[in-house]
């Protein structure tokens, strides 16, 4: 039993070291550089804002269609939301050509 426990413990230790050390071994194999995130923080923030704005535009439309907003209120609110959305899109466009994501937007 003691041999079995020792074997299991060593196997576990080997797995743990392999899992944890993989990124360190990989970085030793190639010159150290500061890897960039697949999505830059600025872009991620703007993309999250854009998704939230899309959702807000859809919510406003649903509020209008379910009678919670008058036509006039909806028109002015929708225009304001779309202008805020365009501003976000412009800021996204203005970002440099760092790798982009293909964000998934809930329809």
């Amino acid at each position: 039993m003691e041999v079995l426990v020792a074997l299991l413990a060593f196997a576990l230790l080997a797995v743990v070291i392999a899992v944890i050390a993989a990124p360190l071994r990989a970085s030793l194999a190639r010159p150290p550089e500061r890897k960039r995130e697949r999505v830059s923080p600025e872009r991620a923030e703007l993309e999250a804002e854009r998704e939230a704005k899309y959702r807000e535009i859809r919510d406003a439309e649903l509020d209008f269609r379910t009678g919670k907003l008058s036509r006039e209120d909806y028109a002015s609110l929708d225009a304001a939301l779309r202008s805020e959305g365009l501003e976000i899109l412009n800021r996204l466009e203005a970002l440099d050509d760092r790798p982009k994501t293909d964000p998934e937007v809930e329809d």
């Binding site: 576990l12 743990v16 050390a21 990124p23 939230a52 009678g67 919670k68 209120d73 937007v105 329809d107």
Partner: protein, 718 residues
């Protein structure tokens, strides 16, 4: 195998320490490989703790009484089903469950953000590993699940009979999943504050985990209530017990957060409030664990010794002080980007809902911790009971249910009075119709219950109106038939309509609570065979006694040595309603001092209730048989004197036959409660609505929006 468990714990602690160092070093120096290594340390931790948990589970299933925790909480007579669940019935096992679930959920969370928010995730990794290190340290230094005794005892004490109930298999894992999931938003909040990136991105990353925490906690709480109702023999589902309250508090603040995060997502407002709610929810989850584990407060759930009190107090102190420091030092980046456009808007409603939820949490917090505060200030322990809680929570619950009906009919940003008037018509008619029907039916003597039914009527009408109007709008756009339009509406707006379903579920649940607590009939009476009593409009007759002596044949399959009960006939007028068979199980105490026969039935006696449950009412019955009669006691005494341990079951058989032949009068507890079933149905509706809201959009509905080429199109079709 205990050695392997101990090695796992030591290795887990080392991995935690390394992971914390690597995460902080990686984020401070920009060495990404260290941050990634730290993330992988969490995966490794999950592997190690899964191994440790498997070692303990196998020990329970194999009746390996060399493990102290197995000997203390299991036995050969404990049915296999309950032996598997006995792991988390002990202090040590439940700490291991906590750490294991934390490692699994943390791994999932960090895997999902592995390519995003690297700096935030690195700090979150350090925090999550810090929590894990805390619980692993407790298991190494205070309450190890792998402590052994040699030679191993031949038999264990057995699982507490009160815990031999099917939902106990799932109640603690659900509750602990909720608690551990609460720490994930907390960890990411710490990361967001540390990196000063408290934008929409981290909210998006934690939203699903906050929802999952809320859902798991809710299901865990409800399963606990069901256990209390069906097992504890007092007939209630909520007793404002300290540990019940401890699980409810993070659920309340979590509910508040799920509403207010929408305001931050849409408007960039309430950032301070949201991070505070997230931090408070995580801290309250740890405090909940503290209440169960420390034994500091009296509770049916408390797991004994107070040895863990000091470490928990230190952890909670660090959490509170750290949270305050982070929020205060980051107040410049937590400033709101907008202000409320109008007081008549959904944002305002959400704010009101947040205030009510936090007020409820505060009331419960005060009532729960009052005994501790009182003892600290005056030296004498005082406690508050259900009437104190009801005085404050009932009005707040009424407001909450009402708000859950008002919210759906108010627009975001600004609503006009004219629209509000039109939208409130149907809900108000719903409330009015409810009032008229109930008054006509003579339900007038309980004003709070009446108000709750009216508020629920308001909610049902409000949500129904939303579904009807939404379906109509969808039909106008897509020309689909009504069922398809409804499905498409919900599928395209899962969070909104899933949330509405949750509101209906909460209203249904509160209808069940109000009706069952206000219009309950309860009778406690001693009745002899053939006797009967009236409970409300029901007559209950004690037909004959029952006795079961073989643990395997015990109707409740809980492994009792002897179960004594009764067959009851329930009728209403001349109509037979149900035949009920409550019993009480007598368990082996494992105490040889009680004698060879005495110890077989000398353990804790546990009531196995029997009820006839229906949509309109439950008839609930429990029995406390009297085995202290001279005739029955004489059998035990003679058996103790003359029979060996192997022969002792013969005396139990004689005792059972004597009980059947000359049954003494038994103490019965009868309760007739209306609409209890709707509490569980409401819970299921809440669960269903939660699943709708949390479920990811199907791939067919997800659209990939190319940033540059289709940005304008994306905005146009939003």
């Amino acid at each position: 195998m205990a050695d392997l468990g101990r090695i796992c714990l030591l290795l887990a602690l080392v991995v935690c320490a390394y992971g914390i160092f690597a995460a902080v070093y990686g984020v401070r120096t920009g060495r990404v490989e260290f941050s990634e290594s730290a993330r992988r340390a969490v995966y490794a931790l999950a592997i190690i703790l899964t191994t440790a948990f498997a070692v303990l589970e196998i020990a329970f299933l194999r009746n390996d009484f060399a493990f102290n925790t197995v000997a203390d909480t299991s036995s050969r007579t404990t049915p296999t089903f309950y032996r598997a669940a006995a792991v988390w019935s002990s202090q040590e096992g439940s700490l291991l469950l906590w750490a294991w679930l934390l490692s699994l959920w943390s791994s999932l969370a960090l895997f999902l953000v592995r390519r995003r928010m690297r700096d935030i995730a690195a700090y979150a990794t350090a925090v999550l590993l810090g929590f894990a290190a805390f619980f692993i340290s407790l298991m190494i230094f205070y309450a190890t699940p792998f402590a052994t005794t040699s030679p191993a005892p031949a038999e264990g004490v057995g699982l507490d009979p009160l815990l031999r109930f099917p939902t106990m298999m799932i109640h603690p894992p659900m509750l602990y999943s909720g608690y551990t999931l609460c720490t994930i938003p907390l960890a990411f909040a710490v990361g967001a504050l540390a990196t000063r990136r408290v934008d929409a991105d981290w909210i998006k990353a934690i939203r699903r985990f906050a929802f999952a925490a809320w859902l798991f906690l809710g299901v865990g709480i409800l399963l606990g209530a069901r256990w209390s109702y069906s097992e504890l023999g007092w007939g209630g589902y909520w007793g404002w017990d300290a540990v019940e309250n401890a699980s409810l508090m993070p659920w309340l603040t979590g509910t508040a957060f799920l509403h207010s995060l929408m305001i931050q997502e849409k408007r960039g407002m309430l950032k301070v409030w949201n991070v505070s709610l997230v931090l408070a929810t995580g801290t309250l989850a740890v405090m909940g664990t503290f209440l169960v584990r420390s034994g500091i407060l009296n509770s049916i759930h408390a797991f004994g010794g107070a040895t863990l009190g000091v470490p928990f107090v230190v952890l909670i102190g660090i959490l509170i002080a750290g949270s305050i420091y982070l929020v205060v030092s980051r107040r410049d980046v937590l400033r709101s980007e907008h202000r409320l456009d109008s007081l008549l808007s959904r944002e305002s409603l959400f704010l009101a809902n947040n205030v009510v939820l936090v007020a409820l949490c505060f009331v419960i917090f005060w009532g729960t911790y009052f005994p501790l505060i009182s003892e600290a200030l005056t030296g004498t322990e005082a406690s508050v009971g259900p009437p104190w809680f009801d005085r404050y929570t009932v009005p707040l619950a009424l407001i909450l249910v009402l708000l859950s009906g008002i919210g759906p009919v108010i627009a975001w940003r600004r609503a006009t009075l004219a629209n509000a008037r039109r939208n409130f018509l149907a809900p108000l008619l719903g409330a009015l119709a409810t009032l008229v029907v109930l008054v006509a039916a003579g339900v007038t003597e309980r004003p709070f219950a009446l108000a709750m039914f009216c508020c629920a009527g308001f909610v049902f009408a409000s949500v129904a109106q939303e579904f009807v109007r939404g379906t109509r709008a969808r039909r106008a756009i897509a020309g689909e038939p009504p069922p398809l339009a409804l499905l498409a509406l919900v599928r395209r707006n899962r969070r909104r309509y899933g949330g509405y379903v949750v509101h209906v579920g909460i209203a249904v649940l509160f209808v069940g609570v109000a009706a069952s607590s206000s219009f309950q009939h309860a009778v406690e009476q001693r009745i002899a065979v053939g006797g009967s009593t009236r409970v409300g409009s029901y007559t209950i007759r004690y037909v004959r006694p029952t006795a079961t002596i073989t643990p395997k044949e015990d109707r409740a399959h809980t492994g009792s040595t002897l179960a004594l009960g009764a067959v009851l006939d329930v009728s209403k007028g001349k109509r037979h309603v149900a035949t009920l068979r409550p019993s009480e199980g007598f368990y082996d105490s494992g105490e040889p001092a009680q004698g060879s026969v005495g110890h077989l039935i000398g353990g804790q006696a546990v009531s196995h209730i029997s009820m006839s449950a229906g949509l309109t009412r439950d008839v609930w019955t429990a029995i406390a048989p009297d085995i202290s009669t001279p005739a029955l006691q004489r059998i035990v005494t003679i058996g103790n004197r003359t029979l060996s341990a192997e022969e002792a079951p013969i005396a139990i058989g004689v005792l059972a036959r004597e009980y059947l032949k000359h049954p003494p009068a038994a103490e019965f507890h009868f309760i007739v409660s209306p609409l209890v079933m709707w509490i569980w149905i409401g819970g299921l509706i809440v669960f269903g609505g939660g699943l709708i809201a949390i479920w990811p959009a199907p791939s067919t509905v997800r659209r990939r929006v190319a940033l540059r080429s289709r940005s304008a199109h994306g905005l146009a079709r939003a």
